[in-house]
């Protein structure tokens, strides 16, 4: 047991949950304005690729991340325009964008870097590890909290910022109202569409950061399809967390722990499939209890299967 749950375990859990948390926050923003974003997976993938490409061409981490943000934002604008202006089915657009992301990133991987499968550049600098002065000396907590990439800290900070935005600012209040009752909100002069586009763009930024953490966080490389379903796990975290920043953080923490646990178990030659299943099963069970909330109503608006 001690071997299983040592400090490195918790530290890796935090590292692993970061992309999920970031994307899930993006998903929560979209969900709150009535757009159920199935395309988180594709957005994260574009972000991961954009970060590597940016790093390659600019040899500068900040510019690389900015480049990733630009790429994903353009990508998310497609989602926004199709879903908001043209009123296409949000699910279909999300699925199509996932396909497009996979195709485009693999396509450009071949054309830009002339490699198959993965691009790995040993000379490329990845995200630094920040050793925070006082905290790293605290026993136990220090080893867990200190030494992560800046995006990890940014993720938690952003979760807090979104919480503050939703529940303390006027703009955030109007944002929530636009999603809760768009008709009433627009009758009060609240520009619902503006908030929707804002949510989609913010989601793009968050997914770009998530992708950057993936491709530049531990090792600096891009693999075809490297998001490997994390975008969907993020969506699950959004649902489980009821599209609220705190809930989403808690859910992401749970999934991060499960993910880290399954990596550990692999090391011990034990089946990981059941720990991997936990996020999905837990969410299905949660849906039995949280019936008429948030995402279900959004999904209901998109499809007509549940009444």
């Amino acid at each position: 047991m001690e071997q299983l749950l040592d400090l490195a375990f918790f530290s890796s859990a935090i590292r692993v949950l970061t992309p999920i948390l970031l994307a899930a926050l993006g998903g929560a923003l979209c969900a709150r304005v009535g757009l159920f974003n199935v395309g988180l997976e594709g957005m994260m993938l574009v972000g991961a690729f954009g970060a590597v490409v940016g790093n390659h061409f600019f040899a500068n981490l900040t510019l690389a991340i900015l480049f990733a943000i630009v790429c994903v934002t353009l990508f998310s604008l497609i989602f926004g325009y199709l879903s908001i202006h043209l009123q296409a089915n949000v699910i279909v657009v999300g699925i199509a964008l996932n396909f497009l992301a996979l195709g485009l990133t693999t396509f450009f991987l071949r054309t830009i870097f002339d490699v198959k499968g993965a691009y790995y550049d040993s000379t490329m600098v990845g995200l630094p590890k920040w050793d925070i002065p006082f905290i790293r000396d605290i026993p136990i907590l220090g080893d867990i909290v200190s030494g992560h990439s800046p995006l990890v800290y940014l993720a938690f900070l952003l979760a807090g910022c979104i919480w503050y935005y939703f529940y303390r600012t006027i703009s955030g209040f109007r944002f929530l109202s636009a999603g809760e009752n768009p008709l009433a909100a627009s009758s009060l002069g609240i520009r619902v569409r503006r908030y929707q586009y804002g949510a989609v763009l913010a989601c793009g930024v968050l997914c770009a950061l998530a992708g950057a953490q993936l491709s530049l966080g531990q090792v600096t490389m891009f693999t075809e399809g490297m998001t490997a379903g994390r975008g969907f796990i993020a969506l699950v975290a959004t649902m489980l967390g009821q599209s609220g920043p705190l809930g989403v953080t808690a859910a992401s923490l749970l999934f991060g722990l499960m993910d880290a646990l399954s990596i550990r178990l692999q090391g011990l030659a034990l089946p990981t499939h059941f720990t991997d299943m936990v996020p999905y099963v837990v969410t299905i069970l949660a849906m039995f209890f949280f019936k008429n909330k948030g995402f279900q109503q959004d999904a209901q608006k998109q499809s007509s299967s549940s009444r």
Partner: protein
Amino acid sequence: MLLEMEKITKQYGDLTANRSIDFNLRAGEVHAIVGENGAGKTTLMRILYGMEQPTSGTIRVKGQDAAFTSPADAIRCGIGMVHQHFMLFPSFTAAENIVAGREPGSLMRFDRKKAAAEVEELCHKYGMKIDPWAIVGGSPLGVQQRVEILKVLHQGAEIIILDEPTGVLTPLEVKELLEAVKSLAKQGKSFILISHKLNEVMDTADRITVLRDGVVTGTVNSGETDVEQLSRLMVGRELIQIERKPSMPGVEVLEVEGLTIRGHKGKPLLDQVSLNVRAGEIVGIAGISGNGQSELLQAISGLIKQDAGRIALVGAEVSAESARGIREKGLAHIPEDRYVWGADKSATVQETGLMGHHRRLQRFGFIRQKAASSLVADFVRKFSIKTGTLETRTQYLSGGNLQKLIVARELAQGTPFLIAAEPTRGVDVGAMETIHSELLAKRDAGAGILLVSSELTEILKLSDRILVMFEGRIVGEMAAEEATEEKLSLLMAGGKQQ
């Protein structure tokens, strides 16, 4: 004079919803607008609130000409509207709902404490009581309505439009609301009260304007009139010639006893409704729509479940039966909303016309195509339904033609009992005559028909017996010979049977 609306006319294509309407409002006055469904009340208010533009006519607020292109314009002129269906955010608190759009605070911070203080100040000033921190979604409907009213007061409204405000309230909540309106009026606020409930209007309003078929039939002071005069102004038409054969009622085909459906928060949708229909007779239910008729019909046809009471169809208990089972026991149904219940817009005319017959016209699970198409072709011929071919999509049929199709379809089911809900709504005169004579023919052939209509002329023309529904209850019953438009409209508006 605070508000003047002069010669307001609104036309939608061929339909004239408002014709040269004059309406004015003084400061501190409660001025009610009454009329039947479709009289034009809602259209007039939508124009005032900036949701529609008048085809012609002028509006003046405090002597200044005003043109509203959106609700925001109207709000800026001090006009507030409390809609029939509340525009609230259920998960937010009362204070948040009230200040939404004009929240106190700075760029970084929504000052909720100040919002609650502002709300409490309003409550104190206007004598209304609510808890600013209560979550609106879980509050009773009377409280929700008070939140809506405080919202318009917070917006600085001097003129407040109340659109059918008491529909969902319990009697106690109604009393509180009307008291609040009178008290606010004393403090200088002006109200436009839209209602069909004449007793409430008589009690609360200073002046009453009656609309009928898009025109004003009279504006009276409440002290100088009574409910009978009002209902005559609402309805007064030429008496129609009734040419119906006397009915020969036979066995009971429908028996409803003590049917009750609990509504939300105290107000029942159906309250101990009992009635019966016999073979060979048409029982008409008169009433303004929204008084429980829809729920009654849906319960009888098995589309919703009642909370108490029993239903028997041709002698068989169907209280807990499914919609399919009830149809098989002998029910056909012309639904009140042809697009919601009666058809599938994306299906072909053939397919819409087949519903209910499809199980009968089959062989080994396959639909007998020839029989099916000749069935629907028959409908088209018999009722002169204008359609391209049977393969045309239902959405391309005009409303009237679709109604004819549905009537034809349901009459052809050959059942001992038929529900006909608003059977000639939106239908031209010629089609109306056809449908009416077909219904009478069905009744002469021995079927029992339950007719629900908000058109009094239709009720009087077709029914052998007439019931009146108001607020989920049967409030009156009379034989056709005794019925007059005045008696019926009085009961429909909540008056007492003489």
